[in-house]
Subunit: 195 residues, 2 copies
DNA sequence: TGTACATCAGTGAACGCGCGTTCACTGATGTAC
DNA sequence: TGTACATCAGTGAACGCGCGTTCACTGATGTAC
């Protein structure tokens, strides 16, 4: 039954990535350790060979999900210099595709649950948010770095809020309007601050 | 043991109001029926004399919380005509007091959980959001009613997103900056659209 | 108006179930000589 | 290089516990005459 060290490391990574998806899909509290392990093709008993607790998995999978999100936003900005890159990132983030995709922004998937998580999980969320802020700020040209970071905070707040509400409302038109109006408003903000 | 009809109706109302607070404090999934009943000074067995299921209580308490929020925002706008009222509502909503108060906006307290709730709960959330949108739009003078509603969607998205993230980050300065920058940005938005 | 009975708000214990975590076990991997 | 043994990744069952819901019961309230 014992697997090689390399296989074990791969298994561990698979659990983290599976958890990053499952927690976003079903929420942190509602998704059990057994759910994650089953989704990773394992039985629950083996979980504690890799992690100290569910909390430790939440922390690691959150870091993983936030890295994915940052990479995704950097992908949207790639080859689009300065503020054009930010416009593209906003466009992609606030798309209907992103809304309907469960493997998306962890702040949207379980943002209100994070406020009730452990200190270490909230620290991880804070670090991940800072990475996002920096990624956006790098493309917010024409203002000081400090101003670019402040502008990033507003952009992220609006994107996360609009997407959170667009996900929960049961009216499709209202949901689409939330994304459209947030997009339009952020476009104006990003363009206005460039001059 | 039996209580009069009037007393029973008061008990029911007390359960709804207690639940509206407890669900915001602890989240929907993590707060049990027994928790709510105990907080209301009752034992869990009596719950089903008043409600068909936990889902029915979630729905009613959500409506109650959203009514409170709308009343609170209308209170901020009272005696401040037009856009000045909206500025006051934004100021109050994005305050540190509001962030540190668990009995606040349900979209912040359990917004990401709502996306996974039943259709009827999401319908209630949608109706409540529309009431909020209308309350704000009434004070957004100088533009058409349709434009005022669209502007309200952006204001609410930014307020909800900023507050959600401000609640979850463990860095106090970052949390304060999120509220401050969102406030500043929305003030500019509300003032710009008035002309 | 008074009385006999039905109703039902609320209690407290129990139901089946799933949770996070623990543990005995298996057998392939890793290590010591 | 080969062998004997220790290690440990993963399994499957069990632990105590809390969940949403049900139910028998109590006794004050409501109703019918």
């Amino acid at each position: 039954m014992r697997k090689s060290r390399e296989e074990a490391a791969q298994t561990r990574q698979r659990i983290v990535e599976t958890a990053a998806l499952e927690f976003r899909r079903g929420g942190i509290v509602s998704t059990g350790v057994a759910d994650v392990m089953a989704a990773a093709g394992l039985t629950q008993g083996g979980f504690y060979r890799h992690f100290e607790s569910k909390d430790a998995l939440v922390k690691e999978s959150l870091a993983n999900a936030l890295d994915s999100l940052t990479a995704s936003i950097e992908g949207s900005m790639a080859n689009r210099p300065g503020r054009a890159g930010v416009l593209a990132a906003i466009e992609d983030y606030l798309s209907a595709d992103h809304r309907d995709n469960p493997s998306s922004c962890p702040f949207v998937s379980f943002g209100s649950e994070l406020a009730r998580e452990s200190q270490s999980v909230r620290d991880e969320a804070t670090n991940g948010l800072s990475r996002l802020v920096n990624a956006l700020a790098r493309n917010l040209t024409g203002v000081s770095p400090a101003s670019a970071k402040k502008e990033s905070l507003v952009i992220l707040s609006t994107m996360i809020g609009a997407m959170t509400v667009a996900r929960l409302v049961s009216d499709k038109e209202l949901s689409a309007a939330l994304l459209t109006q947030a997009k339009k408003s952020l476009f104006e903000l990003v363009r206005a601050n460039s001059s």
